[in-house]
Symmetry: C2
């Protein structure tokens, strides 16, 4: 028997990322219980990953039930183009072979819980809003500076999805009209300047195209440039400062168009906050309208890698009436 | 007695613009009745304008009542910074002397109707959504290319106001990082390139700084450049084409960030649609994500000068339960 007044209900949140598969129980307060993490190993194909996803889901469900929790459902954040209503992963650049996978239908063969599917970037922004740095705000924007630049927007407590579920792609805002070409087809996207790859690429440029000792992969490169900046390397410091200027142009656009209470910055570049944020803030203040620029709070993300599965669970919690 | 099934209720909409004061009855279907228009003559000061506003409101109310309508309230669109809840016009660049005017409190001395106050750009976008080109859409954006560039955003049928009521300022999106200085303090704002003033200014530049016969005022200048373009003037054609390119950069940003069903273009530049829209569309398609760019409809505004007072009335209608 559960003690009176204490909610023993719980929701399972899943983050099916390109690198890691994370599954955990999430309370209505956003607390994380029985977190499981394993490598996604997407190369092994959809069938293998689906089997491990089912195993993980049932495993966490069993652990939670044994600990006296009532599991109400499971909610999954998945990268790529998602049909939420039909529960289908249409395509996913980070999950090779995932083309028109009827994910929820296939999970229902083995899992008897109510299920929800959401794009992982949307899940992450909802997580920061619901249980992270945006707690208590109603209109906010998340920018994730990682390998690329992700984004998401909350308006009056609701995810801005747009007509096709494609809203919030702030990483592909043009910040330099004739700028660097972006894989998305545009030129001068924010992502090309303020992502880990953008920053390390700019550092390489500033060094004349050669930086001995730089690791070969985007996010590791940026961490390496970050460590050089901490040692006082002027080119490394400049690379972060310039990234901040472009970030500031984008933040000014967000301030003038959305007028949010907060812009929250997350992702792998976050530890370099003090290296890019002064120039970003200065550029934003110079470009945006004064009143909304002065009122917007610039905050570091609070949930790190957990934002995706916490937010996925939060989206399901939102649909469940409070009190048992 | 009203005939059964026919709604004889009506709302008065007011557009208190810098040039014209418009007052009319608006049915729940968005039809306009008993429209009064007079010059604002804002130079005569707030007291004079307030008196004429009261006279106009009471006059339209009387006419509607005599025609058998039940007037439910009046809703005003006013340019500038508005405190909606307190009914105060904080400041208005287009209405000299309007500083912290308690507009609704002062109107209530003479007008016994329920009153609503809204920013005029917000009223206009709601008008196009409710009864104009955006009818039937739920997420849409309005861009008004006039003396300046105004904007407004509807998300799921609701005005996006933002934390301080300052959202939707798409005219001040940076489209050229080191571009022309804008009175707002930024550089390279859309407004500097795609407004009537921006287009005529660019034409003047292309002509080497001198264009004999050009009238002296912004919107008249643009109409004059428009007429030259119709005669085949290559510099005039180029000025509109270039404005379209910058408009397309901004539309791509809107598509990637908001993913609306429609972008609606209004304002005094609208008659030149075929001169700027091909380059705008091309630029948008080249820069935005394919799916949302292909799904967005680009539409000319339908209500013209009437959008403001129709939309103001629509915002009040939205708060009134349907059926008498």
């Amino acid at each position: 028997m559960q003690s009176s007044g204490q909610d023993r209900r719980i929701v399972i949140g899943v983050d099916l990322g390109g690198t890691n598969l994370r599954i955990a129980g999430i309370t209505r307060e956003g607390d994380v219980l029985h977190l499981r993490r394993e490598e996604t190993r997407a190369d092994a194909g959809p069938k293998d990953l689906l089997e491990r996803l089912v195993t993980g889901l049932l495993g966490v469900e069993e652990e939670l039930t044994e600990s006296g929790w009532e599991v109400l459902g499971a909610s999954l954040g998945v990268p790529g183009v998602i049909s939420r209503r039909r529960g289908v992963v249409e395509s996913s650049p980070n999950l090779p072979g995932w083309k028109k996978i009827h994910l929820l239908r296939r999970l229902r063969r083995s899992v008897s819980l109510p299920l929800l599917l959401e794009n992982d970037a949307n899940a992450a922004v909802f997580g920061e809003y619901w249980a992270g740095a945006g707690k208590g705000k109603s209109t906010m924007v998340l920018l994730t500076l990682g390998t690329g630049v992700g984004g998401g927007i909350i308006i009056d407590g609701r995810l801005l999805r747009g007509a096709d579920g494609m809203a919030g792609e702030i990483g592909h805002l043009t910040v330099e009209r004739e700028g660097l070409p972006c894989p998305c087809g545009n030129r001068g996207c924010l992502e090309r300047y303020a992502s880990a790859r953008g920053i390390s690429g700019r550092y390489l440029d500033l060094c004349g195209g050669s930086a001995p000792g730089m690791p070969a992969e985007g996010s590791a490169e940026a961490a390496w440039v970050h460590s050089l900046a901490r040692e006082g390397d002027r080119m490394a410091l400049r690379a972060f400062r310039e990234a901040g200027i472009y970030l500031g142009i984008a933040m000014a656009a967000i301030v003038n168009i959305v007028n949010p209470e907060a812009i929250i910055i997350g992702g792998g570049v976050l530890p370099a906050w003090d290296l890019f944020m002064p120039s970003a803030r200065e550029e934003m203040m110079a470009r945006a309208f004064q009143a909304p620029a002065e009122s917007v709070e610039l905050l570091p993300a609070a949930l790190g890698d957990h934002a995706g599965f916490i937010g996925a669970a939060g989206l399901l919690w939102k649909e469940i009436p409070s009190a048992a």
